[in-house]
């Protein structure tokens, strides 16, 4: 707008959205307050106990086990999905359109349905997955039913669901690479690998950072998939920090303790997302 005059109009236009924002921010503040109290279900009285929930958490072995499981989940997901997604995108870039139609399917459906579909196929007794693997000479696997494999099984379902997301974003980015750059490089005698490494990767880096951000944060915060398959079990083999927060509050009724776990997870996500977004905007402005 050319007028330099201060106007109240844009704030008025934003007002409904800001009211909803406050409505959402309020529970967050309530949660922060609960994490500083000894609030337990059925005892209406809450006492302020400062940071002792946090201290208790950092001293308990369960917290560190959960953190280890969470990090294992995030690293497992990222290490497979991102290289695989880039690979698929490179294959799709040169192939017929028809292969792109099925790609968004796992992303469109409710996450709980992909969890249940795979649970159906991973059934150790009658599941089709063990049956298909038996042709390759692989002995029956317990999948979600056994502590040693449960986390890997959930990571596997996550890979099935979200590799298409990585592939689609990377594909869109690859298709924007200016053709004259790759052609010039080829005339100068660069091979496929060099073109990919020296031209494609730097060009798609901002998109890769965004994909990394979304996949990392969503894996830290994965709840639906774990709830619908194992609910943190067997034992606590899949008890990530997010699921532990749910477990502490809803199952064990320790509200203060559960909120402490969730706040710690929120801090991790907040630091990670601001750091990556800063990297991303730096990369874009270059």
């Amino acid at each position: 707008m050319s007028k330099k005059k201060f106007s109240i109009l844009p704030y008025l236009l934003c007002l409904p959205a800001i009211l909803i924002l406050i409505y959402i921010l309020y529970p967050f503040g309530v949660g922060l307050w609960y994490s500083l109290t000894d609030y337990v279900f059925y005892i209406p009285q809450k006492n302020f106990i400062g940071f002792s929930n946090y201290l208790k958490n950092f001293l308990s072995i369960d917290f560190w086990i959960s953190l280890k499981i969470t990090l294992g989940y995030v690293i497992g997901v990222l290490c497979v999905e991102i290289p695989l997604g880039i690979g698929i995108a490179l294959l799709l870039d040169r192939s017929h359109q028809v292969f792109r139609y099925f790609l968004p399917l796992p992303l469109m459906i409710p996450l709980v349905t992909s969890a249940l579909m795979w649970k159906l196929m991973m059934n150790p007794d009658s599941g089709v997955l063990n049956y298909l693997l038996s042709f390759l000479g692989i002995k029956p696997i317990g999948w979600l039913a056994i502590p040693n494999t449960a986390l890997y099984a959930i990571i596997f379902i996550d890979i099935w669901t979200f590799t298409p997301f990585v592939a689609l974003i990377v594909l869109a980015s690859i298709q924007n690479i200016p053709k004259d750059q790759t052609e010039a490089a080829r005339i100068d005698g660069a091979n496929d690998w060099q073109v990919f490494y020296k031209i494609s990767i730097p060009f798609i880096l901002p998109a890769l950072l965004i994909v990394f951000l979304f996949r990392a944060i969503d894996s830290f915060n994965q709840f639906t998939l774990i709830y619908a398959t194992t609910q943190g079990g067997p034992g606590n083999a899949t008890m990530t920090l997010h699921v532990r927060g749910w477990y502490d509050v809803i199952v064990a009724s320790k509200i203060g303790m559960g909120m402490t776990n969730l706040i710690i997870l929120w801090v991790i996500c907040y630091i990670l997302s601001t750091y990556i977004l800063k990297l991303w905007s730096k990369r874009l402005s270059r």
Binding site: L9, P10, Y11, L13, P16, A17, I18, L19, I20, L21, Y23, I24, Y26, P27, F28, V30, Y34, L91, R94, S95, F99, F102, L103, P104, L105, M108, I109, P110, L111, V112, T113, S114, L116, M117, W118, L120, M121, D125, S126, G127, Y131, W160, L213, I217, N221, F223, T224, A228, H242, G245, W246, V249, I250, I255, G258, M259, L262, L265, W266, C269
Partner: protein
């Protein structure tokens, strides 16, 4: 790009394998949904069998199936899937209505005006995308208990704004910013006030953006699981939660669950097909002479 035939074959084989990997769970769920209870748990799994539509009929509440309802600790499971479907439609409709009516103005303000704190407001909306959902939802549960909003449609619709409002504001802001500046300036010269420009020019010109926002909001709110799990109950139960009803204490009703899974993703498939048809580029084409 020259490619040896052997490379091309390898590429096609890899892609076919990956497509098979993506598609197989749907195929298998479909097979499960047309199997009799005896065939469902058979090992080795059957690929050829006598198909049946009983699972669909039972899930839709059209028929009582004795073999399935028996053995659930004496309680016949009422097929609540149809009600959940209606609930889901109501929640999605309300959610989209609220987030559009609040979001369209905020997006317009962010795209057309400069004002102090603008980028801060914009970023705050986005930052919710990166918070663990339960850090909001669990305290919301206690707030809702106090406000008597627990297990109500109004409570869920307001809660779902956490997911759809940031999406709406960001996508509509981009859609408004893509409208050529020349059109806006021409309208100002002709003496239009901001609301005239908004109603007569910007809103009609951004309709493909609006449609994609509506479809995406629909899919996101249709798929939402964590919110209704914590702050919803029996009355407001939507489709994703109702799928868990098929896992009962003594058995998992695989056949009806498979039918419910396939019925529950029909709206997603339909809306995505719709968006692909509608999204014709170039709605503003020809409005500005270059």
């Amino acid at each position: 790009m020259r490619e040896k035939p052997i490379q091309k074959t390898r590429r096609i084989i890899l892609l076919v394998l990956f497509t098979f990997f993506i598609f197989f769970p749907f195929y298998w769920t479909f097979l499960m949904s047309i199997k009799n209870p005896i065939d469902v748990t058979n090992y080795p799994p059957k690929f050829i069998f006598q198909p049946t539509v009983d699972n669909y009929l039972w899930t839709l509440g059209l028929v009582k199936q004795q073999e399935v309802t028996a053995g659930i600790r004496g309680q016949p499971l009422p097929p609540e899937f149809v009600r959940a479907f209606v609930n889901s439609l109501m929640i999605c409709g309300g959610t989209i209505a609220v987030s559009l009516s609040a979001g369209v103005f905020a997006a317009y303000a962010l795209s057309r005006f400069t004002f102090p704190g603008k980028e801060n407001i914009a970023f705050t909306f986005l930052s919710f995308r990166f918070a663990p959902p339960l850090v909001i939802i669990i305290p919301l549960y206690f707030v809702y208990q106090r406000l008597k909003l627990y297990d109500t449609f109004a409570g869920l619709i307001l809660g779902y704004q956490l997911i759809t409002l940031p999406l709406t504001i960001w996508l509509l802001r981009i859609a408004f910013e893509e409208i050529p500046k020349e059109i806006d300036e021409a309208a100002t010269i002709d003496g239009c006030a901001w609301w005239q420009k908004f109603l007569r020019i910007d809103l009609p010109l951004s309709r493909s953006g609006l449609v994609s926002v509506i479809v995406l909001s629909f899919i996101f709110s249709w798929n939402e699981f964590t919110f209704p799990l914590i702050v919803g109950g029996r009355i407001t139960k939507p489709v994703p939660i109702s799928m868990l009803d098929f896992v009962t204490y003594s058995q998992v009703l695989w056949g009806p669950m498979a039918a419910a899974i396939l019925l529950g993703i029909i709206p997603n498939v339909l809306s995505v097909t719709f968006i692909l048809r509608f999204l014709v580029k170039g709605l503003t084409f020809g409005a500005v002479k270059e």
